[in-house]
């Protein structure tokens, strides 16, 4: 049993052939977690959105400028829609990025496609957020029957 002590020293295990991951934020990991968390939140947000817009009250027939204007006058629906906008666009953009990673092999193609996805997502988020928070529900000089009920007449 003493042979173990006399055994020749074994070389340490070979070092990995690819460099170890750099320190810092692990985007792959957080991307993976984001997809799951945002997926669950979006299930609630999107079905809530569809229910309120299409089922409650007059349903789909109620949707007009006044209906949308009325919704955006309430901070609750502003937050709801902005959350939906950001979560859905980043979720979709990250999914598209994954598909590019999987199926585009040329580095230039990958860069162009990922750049296009990023620009599209960023532009839509910016525009959407701008609309939700700067929406004017009572534009001056519009006929009262097209406007939300709380608008001052005249």
């Amino acid at each position: 049993m003493t042979a173990i002590d006399n055994a020749p020293a074994i070389e340490p295990p070979r070092s990995p052939s690819r460099p170890a991951r750099k320190r810092g934020v692990n985007w792959e990991k957080w991307g993976w977690i984001y997809m799951r968390v945002s997926g669950v939140l979006l299930l609630v947000l999107i079905f809530g959105h569809l229910f309120v817009n299409l089922m409650v009250g007059d349903g789909v027939h109620a949707i007009d400028f006044g209906f949308v204007g009325g919704k955006y006058a309430s901070p609750f629906w502003q937050v709801w829609d902005v959350l939906m906008l950001w979560l859905a666009l980043i979720h979709g953009g990250n999914g598209m990025r994954t598909i590019v990673n999987d199926y585009a092999t040329l580095p230039t193609t990958r860069r162009i496609l990922k750049g296009a996805i990023f620009v599209a997502v960023a532009a839509l988020i910016l525009l959407g957020t701008l609309v939700v928070f700067t929406f004017e529900p009572c534009p001056a000089g519009s006929p009262a029957d097209l406007l939300p009920s709380f608008c001052p007449v005249g």
Partner: protein
Amino acid sequence: MTTATIAADRPGNADPSVIPFTVTFIIRRFDPDTDTEPRWQDFDVEMYATDRVLDALHKIKWEQDGSLTFRRSCAHGICGSDAMRINGRNRLACKTLIKDLDISKPIYVEAIKGLPLEKDLIVDMDPFFASFREVQPFLIPGSKPEPGKERVQSVAERARFDDTTKCILCAACTSSCPVFWTDGQYFGPAAIVNAHRFIFDSRDDASQVRLDILNDKEGVWRCRTTFNCTDACPRGIQVTQAIAEVKQALMRGHA
């Protein structure tokens, strides 16, 4: 010549299990010396219900076309040499019984996908074993056992990684993974299974090293949970579950 064959040759024997029937095999052939592209070739083989796909390949090689090339060693589902795509699914030829396949139609046999094709049913396994080696699939203990004693482990501790000890490195899972087909850098299910085997081993002290390796861009986060690997595994390992357990360990930060 087996006794079953002799019995079948005898007239008047009505046992259906020893009556041979003809099965058509369509095999994807590739000879690097003469072919530029793989081609499909069909063979009609006399088979018994108890035969396996590997027996058909043997019959073709020994009786019809000696140039048919494939790997096999133990022929009993242990060595993991004869993984191939049978009717579009990754299976071991030595564990796939003819009676379990629909023989009213031809049986398609081709090499596993995602690894470089060398000849007929043989692929270059080097990239597969390279990613296996990268996860350091050997015990790395932090301390010496008591002199003259083994490293003690409880039944529960052993059961924690029992499923992933069954891997025979046949590459059926890795070569069924759509991410591996398109992204050759991905570690692949087999490497992650073998990392799982040591990450959750209570005697091993380098699980953090392996978790760091699999936390890579081409590591476990590439997995899309398509379950192809679990379906392909001839040993019945819950491969996708093992990958998910590694993901959870990475989120916890420890095994």
